[in-house]
């Protein structure tokens, strides 16, 4: 057991855990976060996705001891129900969910890709989502929401 300091969604936490503990379990059990969820424990489905230093991380296979001082963002770190992040708002507007279990993987992956390349094409976005699984098959609505967000973002990025 070890004391570990974490920065998650802009706040600081200290937890006392085995450093080998997957980050996901710490986020769920110690920090009470609901966004990242256990799907497979093998980095195959994306349900546990978080963003660390701008990079996508499968928190089910990331030992918490390896996180260091890197800032972690989970789905609930993007926006709030009162003030959703624009990509969350696009998903709300398009009704891009059924059970919704997979959404951390879908939304955070799309956001990270578009943060890195705002002009990403649909093919590029889809390719980036290759490791993300939605078993309700809400694919079309999700892609539509992502496109809507990307297009709005591109407009904002244009010089005034």
């Amino acid at each position: 057991m070890k004391q570990i300091a974490l920065r998650v969604n802009g706040r600081s936490f200290t937890v006392t855990v085995d450093p080998e503990t997957p980050l996901l379990f710490v986020l769920n059990d110690d920090l009470g976060l609901r966004g990242p969820r256990f799907g497979c424990g093998m980095a195959q489905c994306g349900s546990c996705t978080v963003i660390m230093k701008g990079q996508l991380v499968r928190s089910c296979v990331m030992p918490v001891g390896k996180v260091g001082s890197n800032e972690i963002t989970t789905l609930e770190g993007l926006g709030t129900p009162e003030k959703p992040h624009p990509i969350q708002q696009a998903f709300i507007d398009e009704g891009a969910s059924q059970c919704g279990f997979c959404l951390s993987g879908v939304i955070l992956t799309a956001k990270a890709v578009l943060d890195g390349k705002p002009q990403a094409s649909d093919d590029e976005i889809r390719t980036a989502l290759g490791g993300v699984l939605c078993r309700c098959f809400t694919h079309n609505r999700m892609l539509r929401a992502i496109r809507k967000y990307a297009d709005a973002n591109k407009q904002h990025a244009l010089p005034a």
Binding site: L33, G41, L78, T80, P84, G95, G100, R135, F137, N140
Partner: protein, 755 residues
């Protein structure tokens, strides 16, 4: 707007306060509000608060199919209040009526017609109007309702809260209470955004995976290495040094571990030294269908005109075909999870089960408690599409909590989930049919073999899923023996009877079609694996075989597949969806070019009268087939759906699109695999599913919504026709007939070579 999150906040508070309750009162362990449970009483379904908020109680729960929102609309519509004024509580055995299982496309038929929740809401509206008539000294027909306020023409008004706030109705459901008709609807029929959306997108939504109870420990199970294996020995010393380890729980062949953290529980489950006696070897995968066809069977005849052998013997050009359908998985994206808090004489289980009351009953049996001392609270899990691991994990969590006397959260591993779920059944269908000289089908005989082991556990069958079997309970036994002659009304729950059959039993013909020399015989045989309802259970298997064979007959008759279907149909609703889909897709008779190399383009149609009267769909699939690689790529779907009056068109579209794309994944890539001992498709590399990188086709959804008919199910109709529509499109493109799912490139190439 009253969001799902707000509901859960209050729901969560309720849960926690219940968890803190100790000691039993004289009426029983829980404040179950007996009046809230008798389904004949209005107070079981609805309550009016002093603040005018309508609390509604339903036994049909939302897994993501949108029924929470639709039921909220239903109550709001009947009571003349805004959606925001309705607080819906779903599936909690202490406060909601027992509506069995939320499954089988039955939520809409059950709660949206003249019974149950819909009737309760209509009864409540009339009761409130009657109360207001007294108070306002006006006859009911002079009163109007606006957002929970009843007014008279001269401007007197009174609110629901003032009329009844906090008091019981003390009325029975009135079977004659008039439901509002679709023509009067202002809220039902509207695309109200699903109420869970904002909480889901912002990561706030409470899944069963997020439930945390004070004092809670963490569990994992240790499953056998294959079917039929039994525990030889368990060495607890192998895990005792793991920090946070608490207990090994062994009950017959059930093995589990409990620890203070998930990490410690996972380590203990991995490290625990268990010696197993192996069970019998499994039948080889490559000959599974032959194996199934050789087993002793429980037979049933849905229809039998008695003259099919004669008619086939008299015909020349009898067309025969054998269709096979593999085992497939629910494969929920989240591995199943439940939280159980078992005390000396009572238990609470937070579960994603589709069946809170049956689950309560089974858990009571496993724990040897009276059912009234067990409370099962539904909390959404990962989408289930039928019987996934939700019931099994709830049973197991209860066992672990019972063993340690503390609340336990049990999370299955991916392998626990996929190796031991109740699979969608493997199925064989053999057809024989012949055309008459006029180009109509003269005779059609259809015989199918269905693999079956276990099912939903129901109220008293724990052995129908792995958890119960490990404890020594048997799955429900098949009644091996020949079929009785068909009697009574035509039953087509599993869609064994094609829509084109006249469906005559003792002179009464209630099938959808014209074929009178007809037989549908089913052999149910023991499966080597657990099976259970998977979205469109047996309906998708049967419809794949029927609708592709119909296409074969159409080709033999050199007819257009749409026209050929219509030639054999009387049912106006099946005809209606076919015509609507054909029109929307711009379907015209054509002669496919069928190139030898490059990309071949084709289109195919399939239709269904789901379960014989529970929804109608016709789907046209357009596909590209790469003649060199055998790769099939659907490029467009056009579907027409008729489920009667539509509660929420946005929800229906979402379900229909999702159903079709899920059906496409099942048609193209999904197949359970095994070796001589165990299922080997146990993760997302070994079990294929189309991930989000797949270039999904556009789905155009057309509604056919006749008036003055009951509301029907809609979550399973579109998926049912998808594999057949794709198979028929492949034939159209290439002339190759695919009779086995999934349509992998290898199978497509083999079929191309066999043309």
């Amino acid at each position: 707007m009253h969001s799902r999150r707000d509901f859960l906040k209050t729901g969560g508070a309720l849960v926690v306060s219940f968890g803190a309750v100790t000691g039993l009162n004289a009426q029983g362990p829980f404040d179950t509000h007996p009046s809230h449970i008798d389904p004949k009483k209005l107070d079981s379904w609805l309550a009016v608060g002093a603040d005018g908020v309508i609390t509604a109680y339903t036994g049909k729960c939302d897994f993501g199919q949108g029924i929470f929102t639709a039921q909220t609309q239903l109550v709001a519509e009947e009571l003349g209040v805004s959606v925001a004024r309705v607080k819906l509580i779903q599936c909690d055995t202490s406060i909601t009526p027992d509506q069995g299982t939320t499954s089988g496309s039955q939520s809409t038929p059950t709660n949206f017609n003249a019974q149950s929740l819909g009737l309760a809401a209509a009864t409540a509206r009339e009761a409130l109007l009657n109360l207001a008539a007294d108070q306002l000294a006006n006859p009911v027909d002079k009163l109007t309702i606006k957002d929970g306020v009843i007014s008279s023409a001269e401007g007197k008004h009174i609110s629901y809260g003032e009329l009844l706030g906090g008091k019981h109705f003390n009325l029975p459901l009135n079977a004659n209470a008039k439901r509002r008709s679709p023509a009067q609807w202002t809220l039902l029929g509207q695309p109200v955004p699903s109420l869970d959306r904002t909480a889901l997108m912002t990561g706030q939504f409470e899944f069963v995976h997020s439930i945390r109870v004070p004092g809670m420990l963490h569990g994992r199970v240790v499953r056998p290495p294959g079917m039929g294996a039994s525990v030889a020995s368990v060495d607890e010393r192998s895990v005792q040094q793991i920090p946070g380890f608490r207990k090994v729980v062994v009950r017959k062949n059930f093995v589990g571990v409990v620890a203070e953290t998930q990490h410690a529980a996972e380590r203990a489950a991995r490290q625990l030294a268990v010696r197993w006696n192996l069970g019998p070897e499994l039948p080889p995968q490559k000959s599974i269908f032959e194996h199934l066809q050789k087993q002793p069977s429980q037979d049933a005849l849905a229809v039998d005109s008695g003259n099919v052998e004669q008619a086939l013997a008299a015909a020349n050009n009898v067309l025969r075909a054998r269709y096979t359908y593999p085992y497939q998985m629910h494969g929920s994206v989240g591995a199943s999870c439940a939280v159980a808090d078992v005390k000396a004489n009572q238990a609470t289980i937070w579960s994603a089960t589709q069946s809170v009351y049956p689950t309560r009953s089974v858990i009571a049996k496993l724990l040897d408690l009276p059912p009234d001392n067990v409370r099962v609270v539904y909390v959404r899990g990962s989408g289930c599409y039928g019987l996934n691991g939700a019931d099994a994990v709830s049973f197991d969590a209860a066992l672990l909590s019972h063993a340690v006397g503390r609340p336990v959260r049990l999370q299955f591993s991916r392998q626990d989930e996929m190796m031991w779920e109740n699979l969608g059944a493997a199925c064989v269908v053999e057809h024989r049919a012949a055309l008459a000289p006029d180009g109509t089908i003269a005779v059609w005989d259809r015989e199918n073999w269905v693999a079956s082991l276990g099912n939903r556990p129901g109220y008293d069958r724990p052995g129908n899923v792995i958890s119960g079997m490990l404890l020594g309970y048997e799955p429900e036994a098949l009644k091996i023996g020949p079929a009785k002659p068909p009697a009574g009304k035509l039953r087509n729950q599993s869609n064994t009877v094609p829509s084109y059959f006249a469906g005559c039993i003792n002179g009464a013909c209630s099938g959808g079609g014209t074929i009178r020399a007809e037989r549908a015989l089913t052999h149910t045989v023991r499966s080597p694996f657990f099976t259970g309802p998977l979205r469109s259970p047996l309906r998708i298997q049967n419809t794949f075989a029927t609708e592709c064979f119909m296409d074969e007959l159409s080709a033999q008759a050199k007819a257009d597949p749409v026209e050929f279907r219509l030639r054999h149909l009387n049912d106006v609703r099946v005809i209606g969806v076919i015509q609507a889909a054909a029109k929307a897709a711009g379907w015209e008779p054509h002669s496919p070019s069928r190139p030898k190399t490059g990309v071949a383009i084709g289109r195919g149609i399939a239709c269904v009268d789901y379960e014989g009267g529970n929804g109608y769909a016709a789907l046209i699939a357009e596909v590209n087939v790469d003649m060199d690689t055998g790769l099939v790529h659907p490029t467009r779907f056009v579907v027409a759906v008729d489920c009667g009056p539509i509660s929420n068109p946005d929800g229906l579209t979402n379900q229909t699109e999702g159903g079709i794309l899920q059906g496409m994944s099942r048609a193209l890539v999904e197949e359970v695999t095994w070796d001589n001992r165990r299922i080997t498709s146990v993760d997302w590399q070994s079990y294929q599913s189309l991930h989000l990188d797949y270039d999904m086709p556009k789905v155009d959804v057309v509604f056919v919504a006749p008036e003055n008919v009951p509301a029907l199910g809609a979550g399973e109709t579109a998926i049912t026709v998808t594999p057949a529509a794709i198979g028929n499109a492949i034939f159209d493109a290439t002339g190759a007939r695919l009779r086995h799912l999934p349509f992998t490139p290898e199978r497509v190439k083999a079929a191309l070579a066999a043309r």
